[in-house]
């Protein structure tokens, strides 16, 4: 889905942490393509969806990523992607902000 550009990203909770929307989308794609099982933290039940939370490290900084799949579209939805505010326990260990 990511490779085909089937991606829907929330602007204020993801894209606004980068210097341009294009740079943000490129980084989001790069992170999604490189996601590993060790980055998985937990799942969260939302009003309608179940989303997965991951912790990733970008240039020595911990980032929080919350994604879900919209099966109707179908596309990958990035609900949040921002620097960590507190440590996050993932399968691969604790990611620090």
């Amino acid at each position: 889905m990511v490779a085909c550009g089937k991606l829907f990203v929330q602007r204020t909770r993801a894209l606004d942490f980068f210097s341009s929307p294009r740079e943000a989308l490129a980084t989001v794609k790069e992170v999604l393509v490189g996601l590993e099982l060790g980055s998985f933290a937990h799942s969260v039940k939302l009003t309608w969806d179940v989303a997965d939370v991951y912790g990733v490290v970008i240039e020595e900084e911990g980032w929080y990523l919350k994604i879900t799949v919209d099966e109707e579209e179908p596309e990958l939805v990035v609900i949040s992607f921002h620097p960590l505010e507190r440590p996050l326990r993932t399968r691969g260990g604790v990611i620090e902000p």
Partner: protein, 143 residues
């Protein structure tokens, strides 16, 4: 082709539809809060107001922000040059900043887009023109 509205994954209730409205801001390059032009459609939830981007919307937003960014740089450069012109000639200022002769005139007439670096330098100088120009002159003189 008109696509059907997506469901909002923030609130889970609303529908996400393109919205053109004033008063939205985004970070763009050096500016943490640049106003998004009103004519740019951003997919927005009609219930919670969450804004979403796909590649097409991000590309359109990028283009609009770039235009707004360049206009803002020109405006800030003009203000700084105006303030500096009371203390230093344009030619002298061009020399101090390593600019080609006439560059600042072209910039003021809209023939050139200043870089963020140049606008930063002009802004710093214009905060205390007399002292900072003197410091810059001393810096270049100090061989």
């Amino acid at each position: 082709m008109t696509r059907k509205a997506r469901r909002c994954h923030e609130c889970g209730i609303g529908k996400v539809k393109p919205l053109r409205v004033k008063g939205r801001y985004a970070r763009y390059k050096t500016m943490p809060r640049l106003e998004i032009p009103k004519n740019v459609a951003i997919p927005t939830c009609d219930n919670c107001g969450a804004e979403w981007m796909d590649e097409e919307a991000a590309q359109a937003l990028d283009k609009a922000l770039d235009k707004a960014f360049r206009a803002e740089l020109r405006s800030r450069a003009e203000k700084a040059i105006e303030a500096l012109s009371k203390h230093v000639s344009q030619r002298r200022l061009e020399k101090l900043l390593g600019l080609s002769q006439g560059y600042l005139s072209k910039l003021r007439s809209g023939d050139r887009d200043p870089s963020a670096e140049l606008v930063s330098q002009l802004a710093m100088l214009s905060k205390d023109p007399r002292r900072r120009i003197h410091e810059l002159e001393a810096f270049w003189d100090d061989g």
